[in-house]
Symmetry: C2
Subunit: 353 residues, 2 copies
Amino acid sequence: MTAPRAAIVGTGLIGASIGLALRAHGWHVTGTDADEARAKEALAHGALDEVGVDPVADVTFVATPVSSVATLAREALARGGGVVTDVGSVKGPIVAAVGSPRFIGGHPMAGSEQDGLDGAHATLFAGATWVLTPTEATDAEAYALVRSVVATLGAEVVAIAPDRHDALVALVSHVPHLVAATLMGLAADGAEEHAQLLRLAAGGFRDMTRIAAGHPGIWPDICAENRAAIVAALDTLLAALSGMRGVVDAGDRSGLLTSLEAARAARSNLPTAVAHPEDLTEVRVPVADRPGVLAEVTTLAGELSVNIVDLEIAHSAEGERGVLVLVVDTGDAERLRLALLDRGYRPSTRGLA
Amino acid sequence: MTAPRAAIVGTGLIGASIGLALRAHGWHVTGTDADEARAKEALAHGALDEVGVDPVADVTFVATPVSSVATLAREALARGGGVVTDVGSVKGPIVAAVGSPRFIGGHPMAGSEQDGLDGAHATLFAGATWVLTPTEATDAEAYALVRSVVATLGAEVVAIAPDRHDALVALVSHVPHLVAATLMGLAADGAEEHAQLLRLAAGGFRDMTRIAAGHPGIWPDICAENRAAIVAALDTLLAALSGMRGVVDAGDRSGLLTSLEAARAARSNLPTAVAHPEDLTEVRVPVADRPGVLAEVTTLAGELSVNIVDLEIAHSAEGERGVLVLVVDTGDAERLRLALLDRGYRPSTRGLA
């Protein structure tokens, strides 16, 4: 029995991780990169069986910046009869530009701050959402193949139309990034005479602007490729913020409360990355901003054999005290809560489902 | 020698914490609360020496919701010759309404999600920034007294004009909260047919909307009291976002990069809550979204006697992998980095100063 064959175009973080995962599942993986040294590095890293193109690849992953995906996907389609997919964060323009029944647009919701091979790992996609964007013109067998390969990588497939994908990511990823950068810029301007006054920017502001600390290099491409959806989402946001301004200016207390309550409910219902929220419980522990608390709490969990599935430090809107939010198996939550009480903490719990 | 005397009006989280801290420093503390049971609870908690008013208090802290501060501060001023201050998050309207040389507006940047006594602690303000807003009419001795009492609580005093305080907190606290709620509402609307599509909202969006999960009850008061500054800050934001929309719509790559680079630099320079950033180093560890990683890393730090001063989990703009950011003493950073490398992690370090 011959091993199934995959080709990777672009051996950065995502491409190399796909290679590592497929090879672990018995695939033969060939790959190229615009930077030849990086392809060789991927080979040395174990992400490829060989450097080069593979005209008989069953499936080709184009894992390059969005601006080059359509051209490279067409080249891969021209090389052989296999199926081609990509991992770009914009789908409509790419799917339209490629225009082949053997091309299915894809967008894994996984990645890391590190763009290069360094972060590559066979389990990068385990449990991640991976969007596929078939259209009416898509070949059913081609779609089924891509779907099954993505499932092999451990990802959960969500199928959406390309334009709907673009509108949603504009709203929940691209526009938030632009808003974070804008807020950060305004705050820096507003406090430029007295930089230390930015200390007034407490935990909530730090959370909101964290993504503005990322490398800006990817954004010109994303904004160019997803321009229409981003402009539309910005218009929607501008209208909603103007509405909020009107509510504040009019002193409309109940209108304000209604908006904030709805947002609070929606935020609480935001799906988590975890697979079975009904089995998990959040343990919230107010903590002082002092060294050692984190180690104390996590060590205590370890002593009790309570597995911490997720952890975040939620800052209050103002001030530097925080709440340690531990997500643990529901069966362990009460044990942890009592032990924390015993050590003088004041934990509270709530189910995640 | 007689103990100095303080009075607390409003024995919630902030008021009770002030009481606990002052009593620990030998003050005699009297207190009241609109809810008599809560004042008694504060007494039982050790935050007060007695329940009641104190006409000879040297300093009175009004620690009630902003809408009632001015009235209660005037009552305290009328009771005796002491100095009065408050802890409200809006300063201009309160300072103007009280209009006494013996009243100094204050705003401690500390608090917790828990509104009640439960979170009260004598060290709540240790290391926190505490804004005081003297004006030209302020009595110098009154200001010096409040300043020294606040320093006794362990807080770092920053003096700003009341209106400037309000403009800054509108920009870095109030407006960000409204923006987070607005973004969350739009995303929920945009995905209402397919709630699971909100899984596309990855770590960056979760960070940005975290504050929208807070209790909305305090916001109608804040928006009413700081209305002018919030409306002005929203107008500034609307103009800046319209500018950003224009940049995206025009495909202005260099304009976009310039804005994002400036925001990135400003975010990197955001002052931390820690006192001596020059002594600290950030250790960044890319981690998979799997159970146990956090315990493994913090336990390793414990074994090496490396103290974790701060920790955050930075999510990438897309995807569920994260980067664990540990802040440690600079002298410990290299030891931790090498140990992490040894366990197969790929940490990087950078100084905080």
